[in-house]
Symmetry: C2
Subunit: 209 residues, 2 copies
């Protein structure tokens, strides 16, 4: 159905703004705006204030480039975390995903993307120099490359590996293999092939479960 | 995955606000907020201003209760529309849906819902009195009941039919039948049954197509 005719320009403007968000079509945008219209004035005020204050008051951590309320984020400024271990990720959602596992106690480095010539993203668009700076100045022992298992991710991994090749540190990547809960017949061939090549001693799988 | 740990309270607050919207979960909310965070300051300002100004400056049309920028909406104040014909709908989205068909040239009356004892919505919660007022004071010749084909819609139809029974007007409802493009074997029995009972002369279907 074609919803071109709005009886109110204010309504149309708000719908247009919502429809700019990723994955939000005009019909969903209208539903969201009409929902907000039914809410009390204060609630809409709080909603819109939360966005402007987010935009104005937020920092990117000076060390790891994670989103933060202070100049240095709560992870980087936490003394209980292992500063000799840096996990390189693409974006803040990856930080949250890894934090949610509660299996990592080091620091992060948010690249802000991966090298992708197709999208015009080169090493200079990422926080690559800052990573090299951290490795050369801090007491880093290991860098974990936790990028997506895509071609762009692999390219970026290789680029970082070469950049950090002169430093006396370990460089590791995430283990690739059959995901927990996956059925073998639905696992793709490359993953399955790699998981046979890089098979682990059965004893170590007992310790982790 | 569990995304409980935000490294920024500002971020968390914005995500919480988005997650209050219908059909938006916490993961989608995070995606939307991170998208806004990447936009220029002005764009976020415009986005949030469009919401507050919508809430503050919008009117509900004094005649038909449609959403409007003026006290009387652009449909009600349009002299070219047939004021003797009132189409009763549940909400503004229905107004837009019917306007999009370009088949209706009368005015609307937005009820604001349908009678639903389960949800605690009675006739007093709707713009029922205002509808009776319009019919008694204006030169209305026909009221079209265009509510949903649900039990609540039918109940509301019947209620309005009785309320307006004393006036010398025609009361009609939307034609029910097999939707255009529908295959007969997938049409539900009640709709199919009704569409046989209320079959129309073949000649009239030729005129409409």
């Amino acid at each position: 159905m074609n919803y071109n005719q709005y009886t109110s320009r204010l309504l149309e403007r708000a719908v247009n703004e919502f429809a700019k968000l990723p994955g939000i079509g005009r019909k969903t945008a209208l539903r969201l705006v009409l929902h907000l219209l039914k809410q009390p004035d204060e609630d809409v005020e709080i909603f819109s204030h939360s966005l402007t204050s987010l935009k104005k008051e937020i920092f990117h951590c000076a060390k790891c480039h994670n989103i933060s309320d202070q100049e240095v984020c709560s992870i980087c400024s936490n003394n209980k975390r292992d500063a000799s271990l840096i996990c390189v990720v693409e974006n803040i959602r990856n930080v949250m995903a890894i934090e949610a596992t509660q299996q990592f106690n080091g620091l992060y480095h948010v690249l802000g993307g991966v090298i992708s010539p197709m999208d015009g993203i080169g090493p200079a668009d990422l926080t690559m120099d800052s990573l090299v700076g951290r490795v050369s100045s801090e007491e880093v022992k290991e860098v974990i490359l936790a990028l997506s298992a895509t071609m762009e991710g692999d390219t970026t991994n290789l680029f970082i590996y070469r950049k950090l090749g002169d430093f006396d540190i370990n460089i590791s990547t995430l283990a690739r293999g059959v995901a927990i809960g996956d059925e073998l017949e639905y696992t793709d061939e490359i993953t399955l092939g790699r998981s046979i090549l890089h098979r682990t001693p059965f004893r170590s799988s007992l310790n982790n479960s």
